[in-house]
């Protein structure tokens, strides 16, 4: 998961039991809510975030964790920089999943 990126970032993964997208928050918990994600900028904090994410995968809480680059969105909150990550965060933009909340 070592990938060279710049700017603030957060850790994301899929939860082992149900596969849903989660983000690592400030308390070391994995949350479904991007707003709760722990955003880090300096090298030391990034290294810790990465270690925490890998540890959670080793502990079989999440699967395939990685860091993503985020940017501020009109002053309030953060959004992922990459298109794929924005889509992943938002959930499906079309289709029956929007209609059926099982």
């Amino acid at each position: 998961m070592a990938r060279k990126i710049n700017g603030p970032r957060i850790a994301t993964a899929n939860r082992l039991r149900d596969g849903l997208v989660v983000f690592l928050d400030g308390k070391g918990e994995w949350t479904r809510n991007l707003c709760g994600a722990r955003v880090v900028e300096n090298d030391a904090a990034i290294a810790t975030l990465e270690q925490d994410a890998v540890a959670a995968a080793k502990a079989n809480i999440v699967v395939d964790p990685y860091l993503i680059e985020v940017e501020t969105c009109n002053g309030h909150g953060f959004v992922p920089v990459k298109h794929r990550e924005r889509m992943r965060m938002k959930g499906p933009t079309a289709g029956n999943s929007l209609i059926f909340h099982g």
């Binding site: 899929n14 082992l16 039991r17 149900d18 596969g19 849903l20 997208v21 995968a57 502990a59 079989n60 699967v63 395939d64 920089v81 990459k82 298109h83 794929r84 889509m87 992943r88 959930g91 499906p92 933009t93 079309a94 289709g95 029956n96 999943s97 059926f100 909340h101 099982g102």
Partner: protein
């Protein structure tokens, strides 16, 4: 339809309990994700963009009503109440929990279904003509052979770790409704002058980033040699297919690099030395399987039904739907009824649990309990008496299943794309919806005529865009989705690969572009000429001019 005997039932249950054990070990932490991934993939369980996805095989596209009801029940119990029918006669559930998957597999086993080999570098679900056994133009029914291949390829000890995935399609008719030329192996059943059954064999077709039309390998193979010959092809591929580069690992690259003649020579050499009794099932085995596909008890009916004729004459909406959806059956008085899963503006291939149950009820009541799933993401009731068609239509309407667009511009194939798929580069569903909405007017669709639009969300081409009359490939550049257009592809017996028309278009432009292409065709076509025929006659230039002149 094939029914599991005790052997098949135990085989599938063993596989489920093996996987249940593996899932438990994973959740308990005894297996790491690296160790578990290949095991889950061999049972059709992916981790997609937002969640796990389970792909269930519908072997050669055949279902009965009990199976369809179970698919509906699974959608409600473990998912969000719907399923997605794919271009490979599978159904996908987008939201299962890992811990539920063993129970889902047990529920599937209750109705003689499974998810074995719907993923991984093995022989995938065998597909076939969705009108098998009922098509008027059929030489022989491909289903017994497809079932034989399904059994032979299930957990095959030699061919479970191939260089890459492997897809086999079978048809028993001259018209190719199974896209056999785009498969790793394509099989066409033939009869010789003596009335014996045999096969024409193609190999090395495929889509993806290197689309290729399969090469002819054998013009005639006696039917009893089928498995031995498949084994020879698989062995040559397993030994010599490239393993150094994932994108060059399919058999199509081996066939292309060796040349079709040399590839065929190697296969024939292997075949000549195969110990046939090791491979070939005893004759009674094929007879046992074939017996399940014996024609159902059709009634002796006149081909013309007065009730149906009257309904056609009196009800214009019914007549319009019937002309798109109803196909000739080989038995007088019966018809094949196609059900569109492409409501205008809807998601291609999705069906809700309620719709699945409605189709199951119709199959039970009107189609001798049979349903087919097509690679074009639609459903079929293969055995409807002509006098019942009107009643079927009325009930389809109640469930939003009566779109009169089979084979037309809004009968769009689309893969899940970036709304679900972890490999996608762009969305495909919203593009399909927008094009469908734009072209959805009945008069407009009739004016356009037969047209196949196919959309993939990345170069893997699950949406078969290379074989679309109009193909659309979603890509990404600098954080923006854009769409490349190909024209002139076809997946039928005159297969061709679509040609890239030029630079791509943004998501906002693509629908306009498709309309421009269609209008250009309408302006230039000869009387009664289809889009594909017109394109083959006039070539890409007029389309390029029309599209790029306005940009």
């Amino acid at each position: 339809m094939y029914r599991y005997d005790e052997f098949d039932a135990r085989f599938v249950r063993q596989r489920v309990s093996q996987f249940r054990n593996q899932v438990e070990r994973r959740i308990e932490g005894e297996l790491s994700e690296e160790e578990f991934r290949p095991l889950r993939l061999m049972n059709g369980l992916y981790l997609q963009l937002h969640a796990y996805m389970l792909r269930v095989a519908i072997p050669y596209g055949t279902l009965n009503s009990a199976q369809m009801r179970q698919l509906a029940a699974i959608a409600e119990k473990y998912d969000k109440g719907y399923g997605h029918f794919t271009t490979r006669q599978n159904i996908q559930y987008n939201w299962p929990k890992l811990s539920d998957v063993p129970d889902i597999l047990d529920d599937l086993a209750d109705v003689e279904m499974h998810a074995i080999q719907t993923s991984g570098n093995c022989i995938r679900n065998v597909t076939a003509d969705h009108w098998a056994g009922v098509a008027a133009d059929e030489v022989a029914d491909p289903r017994p052979y497809a079932e034989l291949i399904r059994q032979w390829s299930s957990l095959h000890p030699e061919f479970s770790f191939l260089p890459r995935k492997f897809k086999i399609a079978v048809t028993g008719a001259a018209a190719d409704r199974a896209a056999i030329a785009f498969h790793d192996i394509g099989l066409r059943i033939k009869k010789n002058d003596a009335g014996e059954t045999g096969f024409e064999i193609l190999a090395g077709g495929g889509m993806g980033r290197t689309p290729l039309i399969a090469a002819p390998v054998r013009d005639w193979l006696p039917g009893e040699d089928l498995l031995a010959y498949l084994e020879a092809i698989m062995r040559v591929y397993n030994l010599h297919g490239r393993r150094d580069n994932k994108y060059k690992a399919r058999i199509k690259i081996l066939v292309r690099e060796l040349g079709a003649d040399e590839f065929t020579r190697q296969v024939e050499e292997e075949f000549a030395r195969i110990d046939a009794p090791q491979v070939v099932p005893p004759e009674q085995e094929l007879a046992r399987i074939s017996a399940y596909f014996a024609a159902p008890e059709y009634q002796d009916l006149p081909d013309d039904d007065p009730v149906h004729a009257k309904a056609i004459a009196e009800d214009a909406a019914f007549a319009a739907w019937a002309s798109a959806s109803v196909e000739r059956h080989r038995v007088p008085g019966y018809a094949i009824v196609n059900i569109s899963l492409k409501p205008v503006g809807g998601v291609p291939g999705d069906a809700t649990a309620e719709q699945m149950r409605a189709v199951a009820d119709l199959a039970e009541k009107y189609s001798l309990d049979e349903i087919r799933v097509t690679h074009e993401q639609n459903l079929v009731l293969p055995n409807v008496r002509k006098k019942d068609i009107h009643a079927v239509w009325q009930q389809l309407m109640e469930h939003a299943l009566a779109s009169a667009n089979i084979g037309k511009a809004t009968d769009i194939i689309s893969c899940p794309g970036l709304d679900y798929c972890g490999l996608a580069t762009a969305r495909s569903i919203p593009i399909a919806q927008e094009i469908s909405t734009r072209l959805g007017d009945d008069a407009r669709q009739n004016e356009i005529g037969g047209l196949k639009i196919k959309i993939s969300g990345c170069i893997n081409a699950c949406g078969h865009h290379h074989a679309g009359h109009i193909g659309i490939l979603g890509l990404e550049k600098a954080g923006e989705e854009f769409y490349q257009v190909t024209l002139g592809g076809s997946g039928d017996e005159n297969a061709s690969i679509g040609e890239i028309i030029g630079p791509g278009f943004s998501g906002e432009e693509i629908t306009d572009t498709v309309e421009t292409i269609i209008d250009t065709y309408i302006g230039l076509r000869d009387d009664g000429e289809t889009f594909l025929d017109a394109y083959r006659r006039i070539g890409p230039e007029p389309f390029k001019e029309a599209i790029y002149a306005t940009h």
